[in-house]
Amino acid sequence: MNNLKKDFPILENKNIAYLDSGATTQKPKQVIEAIKKFYETSNANPHRGAYGLSIEATEIYESTRTKIAKFINAKHREEIIFSKNATESLNLIAYSYGMNNLKKDDEVVISIMEHHSNLVPWQKVTKVTNSKLKYMYINENYELSDEEIENKITDRTKIVGITHISNVLGTINNVKKIIEYAHKKGAIVIVDASQSIPHMKIDVQDLDADFLVFSGHKMLAPLGVGVLYGKKELLEKMTPFIMGGDMIEYVYEQDTTFAELPNKFEAGTQNVEGVVGLGAAIDYIESIGYDKIQEIEKEVVSYAKQELSKLDYLTLYMTSNEDKHSSVISFNINGVHPHDVASILDSVGVCVRSGNHCAQPLMRFLGIDSTCRASFYLYNTKEDVDSLVNGLNKAYEMFKKYIKNKCQ
């Protein structure tokens, strides 16, 4: 019995097995309450007003920045930039760092398991700068081998983009090792931690990541707030991405000087309620502790793997190496399209994602069009897994007499 479920009003209000936390997590009442309280007691535009309320809003906003810096062990609080989500953070890096630092014949290396958000911006930037985009491919165990990493990251590599955990396969990449190797070759490394930070402790100094990004909404915070971490010396040299209010120093008719970090990258009124919610989400995660979160997830995900492996009509897309697999399980009922499976699961109250998961190049590499994906988080239980298995059996029963020599 998982008693954390009671913290999540939507899971109390709806009789569902929510298995789509890889897309977005549900929100605990502590986060919802914090946002409500902010609007009831502290709302004003930070950085703008000389009056008490604005100063209070500023303090809440800026103290959350400090909280996040501590949470991921950043050396300086101004290394934390608020954004809309991981996608915006990655675009900021691509435009403000990539566009200005890549030259003809330089190489950007990413993995085939990147989300489109860490892929499409690099296509754009490499095309404009005449540099090259190269891919590290996975082996038959859905992992990046050391040989592949060392073959692709070379002296020509200037930027490496790597997801910490694949949103499709659940593979945990050894980012520390990739960063170490890339640094030896003189490249900087961007880590997409969107799928990892909800589940494991992130220490940017220990990883020695040059940039690291994540979305708040995948870690219990509201939609629409994300974070960019960057090493101060890199961020200081970068040009602003979005121009406007609060990111300037002096503005003349024809020229502008820009504000210091972090304001330089935070133009316009920010998503303060999102930041407040993110702060509350971090408090919640810390109050439970990553050890406990991993204990809960390990029990539920191991059970899921065990039960799903028993279904002989199912193909699972994940590494057999337990230590390198997180809490995402992609699967297909052989011969049945994932959208049909997802609709049938929906009819029994099981929420899974189906489709290409914003990873079309990975799907093409695997030779499939799409998968179903069940992704787990701290509120999930073995009962949720049982509901999934029951739903899958039902889907298979409905389809089996029509499946004729179709294999995927």
Partner: protein
């Protein structure tokens, strides 16, 4: 549950998994690709005309049971119709799925395609049912523009 069985009924399942319309046409006059980028479903429709009459149609590609069955059943319904009749049927189907037409009498002309009436109860799947119908709509609109330089002909 009732909705689910209404949607995944015998007719739709048969057409989706084992369609006789899924093949290549020998001498197609027109070909059009339809794509749902969000889900990856992709079909290629082929059309052969005899004067003003749809003589033959076929499809290839991949997608979910709903999109595949909708494509196959659409082909059964439209084959042998004139282009004007086909356009009327296409509009009627689209309006049925959007619940703008609910009168069974008006829906008769859809023949077997009336099987998709209940797809409106599954909003997430409406776009799957509509893929083929929007694709043929585009194809016929382009056909009307023959000579204006915007046609994807097979020849």
């Amino acid at each position: 549950m009732e909705d689910l069985n209404n949607v995944y009924n015998e007719l739709i399942m048969e057409h989706s998994m084992n369609s006789y319309n899924k093949k290549k046409l020998e001498n197609a006059d027109f070909s059009e690709i339809g794509h749902n980028p969000n889900c990856g479903d992709e079909i290629t429709l082929e059309l052969k005309l005899n004067g003003d009459i749809i003589e033959d149609m076929a499809f290839s590609g991949h997608g979910c049971a709903i999109s595949q069955a909708s494509t196959s059943i659409m082909i059964d319904t439209l084959k042998g119709k004139t282009i004007e009749e086909a356009k009327d049927i296409i509009n009627t189907f689209i309006e049925m799925v959007k619940r703008e037409i609910t009168d069974d009498e008006q829906l008769k002309k859809l023949e077997d395609a009336i099987a998709f009436k209940n797809i409106s109860n599954m909003p997430a799947r409406v776009k799957c049912a509509l893929l083929a119908w929007h694709t043929i709509e585009d194809m016929l609109n382009k056909k009307d523009n023959v000579g204006k330089g915007s046609i994807d002909s097979c020849h």
